[in-house]
């Protein structure tokens, strides 16, 4: 059994008394009673002492109580003034009558009949008088203090006493001898170099006492998820790209073959800017694609394509706006690339909808890649993300054909739709001289973060409670 130094000191002191009040022990040990009680509880946990809590009521006379103890309670003073009987009218003129009459009647000292107060033959001491005398004499030894407390004549204090008693086990240990030398805490350079630590009593620390809670500097929990995805894609041989937040309507919509009257383009859903963008060389091919399908088997959307619409500027609504530009500047195969970037939607903000969030987008362009390869890649990607069950359903996106929606199995939620994918339409790739199939997939990575971190409100990712960051573990098994 390893006692703390304080427990040892307590036990040694208690040995002299057998049983003692904590405040007395505190005086002897030059500390305060609270500390003694704390040490005693530790020692009690080992069966060496017994700690008893005693609660006693202490009475103290109020100023008014002191006066009555000297002069008698009002009912005593008044009853003494009555000689046989007295009309009530006269009695009530006594200065103490207001208080005294009720108590005299309660004590059966007087009887009131037809307006006459008649004094009883004998006037015995009332319980209040007995209690008052005792309290005045300094005795605390009463069962109760009668009505004195409610009459405001005494105040009652609870007095807690801690009585500490040594147990036979404690006595045995004490008799066997206790080393009372002071313990060494942190080692000094001197003690280490000289070897004098060998002669010290080294304090042994209790594991039962919880450690102080300290917080490290650390990456944001969401960053760890984003980095995991980045690492995964880099490992799979993808190159990372990034780009401007502000994009022309041309790159954000027209280059991706979204018709110019598509609802997603409306001010209601997209953040527009006043700025006008210059179109890249060769924009005419995009116009032709929209109007009649250019040189492909497409019919295009028909109607006239409006150049001024394409020259507007928006906050990118999807990272596909960056992907198509990356493809336009890297049209030669093979290519595998991804971006993890914020995208912007004009949504009213609530727990599951934000005006900005991260989107992951990956593209694979090579001779001979197929839709079947896309599914294979998606399966591999989601497996590596920790989702072992993946299935595919047909989907629709304006810039891919065929399009597919991967779903992953999440325990407790069932099949969860996680992102979209497809092969870029020829209408998208052809104007930029890209002559090989482009497999593309995108994923709202904040959805993954919500699942992983068990979040109910997406805003926690961006307007974070620092305690949430502090208390979210950095590592989890995949």
């Amino acid at each position: 059994m390893e006692l703390t130094a304080n427990e040892k000191r307590l036990l040694a002191e208690l040995g002299k008394h057998g049983s003692a009040d904590a405040s007395i022990l505190a005086d002897e040990l030059s500390t305060d009673a609270a500390a003694v009680v704390q040490w005693a509880h530790l020692a009690a946990g080992r069966g060496l002492v017994q700690v008893n809590r005693e609660v006693k009521e202490e009475y103290q006379l109020t100023e008014e109580g002191e006066a009555y103890a000297r002069d008698g309670l009002p009912e005593r003073q008044v009853v003494e003034s009555i000689d046989g009987e007295i009309p009530m009218g006269e009695l009530s003129r006594h200065p103490l009558a207001k208080v005294a009459i009720g108590w005299m009647r309660k004590n059966n000292w007087i009887v009131i009949d037809h307006g006459i107060a008649r004094k009883a033959a004998a006037i015995p001491e009332s319980p209040d008088e007995i209690a008052l005398e005792k309290i005045a004499a300094g005795s605390m030894d009463l069962d109760d203090c009668g009505e004195l407390k409610s009459r405001g004549l005494v105040t009652v204090h609870e007095q807690v006493r801690w009585i500490i008693e040594i147990t036979p086990a404690g006595r045995n240990l004490l008799n066997a001898g206790i080393d009372l030398r002071s313990e060494a805490g942190t080692l000094t350079r001197e003690q280490i170099l000289s070897g004098s630590w060998r002669n010290e009593v080294l304090r042994r620390y209790s594991l039962a006492t919880p450690p102080r809670r300290i917080y490290p500097g650390k990456p944001h929990p969401y960053r760890l998820i984003l980095d995991e995805v980045r690492t995964l894609l880099l490992e799979m041989g993808f190159s990372e790209f990034s780009g401007n937040i502000v994009q022309s309507v041309f790159w954000n919509f027209d280059a991706l073959f979204q018709p110019q009257d598509h609802p997603a383009r409306e001010m209601q859903d997209t953040f527009y800017l006043e700025h006008t963008s210059e179109l890249p060389d060769g924009w005419e091919k995009v116009r032709d694609m929209h109007e009649h399908g250019g040189e492909t088997s497409s019919t295009g959307w028909g109607g006239a394509w409006d150049k001024t619409k394409a020259e507007g500027s928006v906050l990118r609504t999807h990272s596909t706006a960056l992907s198509i530009q990356y493809l336009a500047t890297h049209p030669e195969p093979p290519l595998k690339a991804f971006s993890l970037s914020r995208v912007y939607r004009r949504e009213s903000i609530d727990p599951t909808h934000l005006a900005e969030f991260e989107q992951l987008e990956g593209i694979v362009m090579d001779e001979g890649v197929t839709f079947s390869h896309l599914l294979g890649f998606l399966k591999e990607f989601y497996h590596r993300m920790g989702f072992s069950d993946v299935r595919f359903r047909p989907a629709y996106f304006p810039y891919t054909e065929p399009s597919v929606e991967p779903e992953v199995w999440v325990d407790g939620l069932g099949w969860v739709e996680l992102g979209g994918a497809g092969v870029f339409r020829e209408e998208v790739t052809s104007p930029f001289g890209i002559s090989y199939p482009v497999l593309a997939w995108g994923l709202g990575i904040s959805r993954v973060a919500m699942l992983r971190l068990g979040l109910k409100d997406l805003r926690q990712l961006y307007k974070s409670d620092i305690d949430w960051i502090r208390n979210t573990p950095s590592y989890r098994r995949i």
Partner: protein
Amino acid sequence: MAIITLNYEYLERLTKTDRNTILKSLPMIGSDIERVEEDHADVEFFPDRTDLYSVEGVARAMRGFLGIETGLPHYHVAESGISFSVDPGLAGIRPVLGSAVIRNLRFDDASIESVMALQEALHWAIGRGRSKVAIGVHDLSTVKPPFRYIASPRDRQFVPLDYTESMTMDQILDEHPKGRAYAGIVEQFDRFPLIVDADDQVLSFPPIINGELTRVTSDTTDILLDVTGTDERAVQNTVAIICTAFAEAGGTIESVVIDGQKTPSLEPVERIIDSDECARLLGLPLTPELIVPLLERMRFGAEPLEGSKVRVTIPCYRADIMHDWDIFEDVAIAYGFDRFPATLPPTFTIGSEDPACRFIRIVSGVAIGLGYTEVMPFTLTNERVSYDQMQRPESESALKVLHPISIENTIIRTDLLPMLLEILQLNKHRELPQRIFTAGDVNDGTLTYQKMAIAAIHPSADFSEIYATVDVFLRELGAETLTIAPSDDPAFLPGRQGAVMNGSEKIGCFGELHPDAIVAFDLEHPVIGFEIDMRPFL
């Protein structure tokens, strides 16, 4: 997205199979089942498959997909002898008209509901909120052909649907709920579109409201369809979808002659596809013989030609088929997404990190080593946080969005330090010290680049601490050429701040935050901060 209510009893009758078989297969042709109820299911279909926006259309597709009835559906169009004229005055207003007559209909609640829902869904998906296309369905027995589609004076009166009193068209725009909802499409014109019969009775005020006169009831058997709009292709596509849905419901379709032109045709369109190209796109070993039955399950007509060619006849309602690959996707759906081989692409490439992202990763390591915790604030912010509370003048390079959702999101951030102070404010009641950092995008005009910033709050935060911390960053980032210079940034206290210089260009700032800024962010202890442009490092 359009959510279509599928009444089971009606769907089973039209599909000729049970509801469970249908519900199980629906997601595999491309839909999301939103709700499954006692007597119906609500299903979301994609915006390209407008032909599935009715129970009739879904039944037609499912009969094919489940192998109950495959191949091209044929729709016979008889002649009604009814004619329509279009007023040239509509040219700049709403010039396109499509029409048809449908007879022998027997409406019940389920089929009326389906037709009404189809109209609404098409108004949304093809009609762009009725501006591009609007649909009117009339009880033919109440009116007398020939019909005229005219540009009418705005004070013309008639009784609109759901009203008993006659109103002028101007009044309808002001008072009728539909008028108020769609006034924006026509109110700028001197004359309004109007459809009248031989006796000058009003059938419709497109795209706003029909007349009460031609209301369709459960007694209606013969219908006149009007589809008006601004785009010929969209109008004809809508006519085809509605007519074929009526035909599926048991109606017979008759043509109408519009200015000498017989319409609708409901004839399929032909495309010659190459099965080798389809096989290359999908990664399946497909021959014409294998493709034909798959196409037929998707309700195309298909016939092998010589070599790898296949003649595909596309039903008139499939306006989404713009390109051969649209047909290949249907081949993939018929084959079954759940049966597809999933193989990894053979493409070999070597990955590389984006230089800015690599820099962020490394600078974050330094900040974390110094005890700073990462935060990831929004990039949308406002002038109050970015400048007013920071005691700084508004930046001229701040890019304002045109229609912000709220006063909290009016600009793209130009600085990161205010975003950090805002996060300290949110965490005002959390244990001190707090040390936070962020690294990421900011905008200078339309140009996006990256910055890094740190901030700390605790009772003994002072200039010495931040100066020592900045020194660590500059050493760790190998910035030997950068220098420190005096600075007079109003965000910091005079004499307790510095600037990081790249030659003569200021690229960073640090110091003790000005007490006015501390109070503006509702904070109560000393705050130190540092912010730096990453571009010189990249």
